[in-house]
């Protein structure tokens, strides 16, 4: 398997190169000029020229690309035009918040989704199944930007149970347990918003997988051996259903990342989402390039982890 992982990582190199090339062309050909945007409503030709020279934007585009690639190979991805710090420092500051949001949403949607899917599969065509099925249809079709606002209006403004925005309270929170509780309270609504689509998908895949499995010979055999329904589910049916669930999670990692961008903006969550939005608006080329690269690497890694996870879940799978 080690050879497989190394091969996949090596295969990713040309892919990442293509991503860099494509994003370089895209961000540089999009209308809008970072220097003019930086100047805002001030600035004149002299300011534009000075800043272009400072950022190397006065050189031909092809030369800029060569310089960028050369620097990138040495691990230097440049400075943010706006924040004037190395781009990976800027990104690193924001990764923990986004990672917390995404991992929480993923875990919650997996645990709840498998439980709901199993519950529905055990009660096919009964009320609980129908409620869950309709719920997943609605959940899968609900856009995050709408859901987030409704949740805020209901649970934060209406009932006053949870905070409206942010990751932490601005005042009056002692470190330790209080801070942890404060963080959890802030996490609830963004995680619910981000996790709903995944939850709907996982629930549906689990349900249909279990219904299909219940007709398989090995399940019938398990029942014939006198095993309880719970044991049959846990030991025999569910492990087979986990493969498509893992596939869903892996293949939707990019969707989750996109959802995180929207969710973070709605809830003022201090992660990569708002940073990406701001970098786009200000045409902060180095920061944008680095963020696309980080997103691409994370999607590639997520797919790799998915493949490796298959081997753990199904001993028949061999990665060569």
């Amino acid at each position: 398997m080690t050879r497989y992982v190394i091969r996949r990582l090596l295969e990713a190199v040309p892919l990442l190169f293509a991503v860099v090339l494509l994003t370089f062309v895209l961000v540089h050909t999009a209308p809008g000029d970072p220097v003019r945007i930086l100047a805002g409503d001030g600035g004149d030709a002299a300011y534009y020229a000075a800043m272009r020279a400072k950022f190397g934007l006065d050189r031909p585009l092809a030369e800029q690309l060569v310089i960028y690639l050369g620097s990138a190979l040495h691990g230097d991805f440049g400075y943010s035009y706006v924040q004037r710090r190395p781009v990976f420092d800027v990104i690193a500051d924001r990764i923990p918040a986004t990672a917390l949001l995404m991992v929480s949403a993923l875990l919650l949607s997996m645990v709840l989704g498998i439980w709901l899917g199993a519950s529905a599969a055990r009660r096919v065509d009964r009320l609980a199944d129908r409620v869950i099925t309709v719920g997943t249809l609605i959940g899968g079709a609900t856009p995050a930007f709408w859901l987030g606002q409704v949740l805020v209006l209901l649970f934060a403004v209406g009932l006053g149970w949870l905070p409206v925005q942010g990751m932490t309270s601005a005042r009056g929170v002692a470190p330790g347990v209080d801070a942890a509780v404060d963080l959890l309270r802030h996490l609830v609504l963004p995680v619910a918003t981000l996790g709903l689509l995944q939850l709907a998908l996982i629930t549906r895949v689990t349900r249909s997988g279990l219904i299909e499995a219940s007709r398989e010979d090995y399940v019938r055999t398990a029942y014939a051996k006198g095993l309880s329904p719970a044991t049959v589910l846990r030991r025999h049916a569910l492990p087979n259903v986990l493969l498509p669930v893992v596939t869903i999670v892996g293949s939707h990692f990019g969707t989750l990342l996109t959802g995180a961008v929207l969710t973070e903006i709605i809830f003022a969550w201090p992660g990569l989402g708002r940073l990406l939005f701001d970098a786009t608006i200000s045409r902060d080329y180095p920061l944008l390039m680095a963020m696309f690269l980080v997103a691409s690497v994370s999607v590639i890694l997520a797919n790799l982890v998915t493949d490796v996870a298959y081997t753990a879940l199904d001993p028949r799978v061999r990665l060569t």
Partner: protein
């Protein structure tokens, strides 16, 4: 000192606390008679993460809104734009208008305890502001000859030609002073101190959690005795204004600037809030939403057509429906808040579609079989989309087919100011505290070029060019006002751009807090909280 020295403008050392804090307009403030109390935390909603905390290297509103509270300018502008002392206690201007001499407040210390001196002022201008603060660079670089520091407490600005509007450019938004001993020998745009700022301001940085929270604490050695009153000033980054308002209503934050129109009526019913409005702020002051006519394209090259549009567009409707009444219908391209320069007696164009039709007929623009006289493309940022819809409806009966091209803001600005590929463009031109800063660029022919927010119309009028030069060179304000009055007379007849609405932002804060300088960069210098 050359030219010597009748004192033209002079402010004696006034204890800053005596600087009157104006009352908010929306609701009476309880602060006038009450005694300020010490202590407490003010949590302010910030629309953007500042990114870095050196306001001298940028004009970005998101940075200034936060970082200005850590610094000072040489002067402070009160709500009526009157000059008040800040780092400079007093100043004199030579009779020829070419030399400004500032006396600095003695005993000012940077946050790290080092003494503030005139060398810091000279360094800030020469090495930072004139290189990286785009407005200060474009405004002063060409006219400033040199800066002298005869002693630690004196700074002398010497100009190549007489220059009138210097003082208004010296507040913390336009010219924050940074520490020479911190930045010397470094690229100030990349210095580590931009994240660990050392200022002279009322607050010191305690913590900066990127994208989330900027926590400041009182500067106990602040040079304005007794200030600030607050223990802490916290900025909470909340990008969406609707979320900011909800956070205010829930008590998660105490101060919000920029209220969405639909929320205003509800907030006005809340007796626990103080509401104020102002056209000034750290992101740009006294802004006017403006249509830009491309004078190089027919039929907008005809003044009758531009005047017809002026009679046809209902600006009151735009104010009411787009801005929810947050502002005033514009009279001229100089904002009425700059009272000394504003000319109220210019040509006025009241809503009169019949007159508009007459003007178009007189211009020889006949209707075709479909009743259409001509088509115009309105290139605008998506934020101007509602204006586009309203104007399109108003122009249709005149036989003008307005094609709406809504683009992302940078793409729209590119089309208008760089590519010049538009019939009608749009911009929010912010005047700044002086017409020299934000109005000149819109009309002078030397500013026709590929520059954002420049003379996008391509307007050329030798008399207007001459008057702007006169206004800049005159040291006497009445002389300057005379030039600006004539300019407004001319351009409201020529209408190369059409000023729609003077926009004003509402600020709302918890009524427990008083004396917010909501129009200034130093928002919380004098804020205090009820017990």
């Amino acid at each position: 000192m050359d030219g010597r020295a009748a004192v033209v403008g002079m402010i004696l050392a006034v204890v800053f606390a005596a600087c009157t804090a104006p009352s908010p307009v929306g609701r009476a403030s309880a602060s006038a008679s009450a005694t300020p109390r010490r202590g407490g935390t003010l949590v302010v909603a910030a629309s953007a993460d500042p990114g870095q905390l050196n306001p001298a290297i940028t004009t970005a509103g998101g940075t200034h809104f936060v970082a200005d509270n850590l610094y000072n300018g040489l002067v402070f502008l009160d709500k009526e734009l009157n000059l008040k002392p800040d780092l400079a206690d007093s100043w004199t201007v030579s009779t020829d208008g070419k030399t400004y001499t500032f006396k600095l407040h003695p005993g000012v210390k940077w946050h790290d305890g080092v003494a503030f001196t005139s060398a810091d002022v000279k360094f800030t201008f020469e090495q930072v502001l004139l290189k990286y603060h785009s407005r200060t660079k474009s405004g002063l670089e060409a006219v400033l000859a040199r800066i002298d520091t005869p002693d630690d407490n004196s700074v002398v600005f010497r100009f190549k030609t007489p220059y009138g509007p210097l003082l208004e450019r010296l507040d913390v938004v336009e010219a924050p002073i940074v520490a020479k001993h911190i930045y010397e020998g470094q690229d100030p745009t990349k210095a580590g101190a931009n994240l660990k700022p050392v200022g002279t301001g009322p607050f010191k940085l305690a913590q900066y959690v990127k994208g989330d929270t900027i926590r400041m604490v009182r500067n106990p050695d602040y040079f304005k005795k007794g200030l600030p009153y607050l223990d802490e000033l916290v900025f909470k980054v909340i990008p969406q204004s609707s979320t900011q308002v909800l956070a205010l209503e829930r008590g998660e934050v105490d101060y919000v600037s920029g209220i969405p129109g639909p929320d205003l009526a509800r907030l006005q019913q809340n007796t626990g809030l103080t509401i104020a409005k102002s056209g000034a702020g750290s992101g740009g002051s006294f802004c006017i939403t403006t249509l830009i006519y491309n004078l190089s394209r027919p039929p907008l090259d005809k003044v009758e057509v531009r005047q017809a549009l002026a009679y046809a567009i209902d600006r009151q409707q735009i104010l009411d429906k787009v801005y929810f009444g947050q502002g005033r219908v514009a009279v001229s391209p100089i904002n009425s808040s700059i009272a000394w320069a504003f000319n109220p007696n210019v040509t006025k164009y009241h809503l009169d579609p019949a007159k508009a039709n007459q003007l178009l007929d007189a211009a020889g623009l006949k209707r075709d079989a479909n009743g259409t006289r001509f088509k115009l493309e309105f290139v605008h940022a998506t934020s101007f989309a509602k204006i586009g819809d309203l104007v399109k409806q108003e122009l249709a009966p005149l036989g003008i087919d307005l094609q709406l091209t809504a683009l992302e803001v940078n793409a729209a600005n590119d089309r208008t100011f760089i590519g010049k590929n538009f019939d009608i463009g749009s911009a929010s031109y912010c005047n700044g505290p002086d017409p020299e800063i934000g109005v000149r660029r819109v009309f002078v022919s030397s500013n026709i070029g590929q520059i954002l927010f420049s003379n996008g119309a391509g307007y050329r009028n030798a008399r207007v060019d001459q008057l702007f030069d006169q206004a800049a060179a005159a040291a006497d304000k009445s002389e300057r006002a005379k030039a600006y009055f004539e300019i407004q007379d001319i351009v409201t007849k020529d209408i190369p751009v059409w000023s729609l609405v003077e926009t004003e932002g509402y600020r709302v804060w918890s009524a427990k807090y008083h004396d917010a300088y909501y129009w200034s960069g130093n928002l919380a210098e004098a804020v205090w909280r009820d017990q």
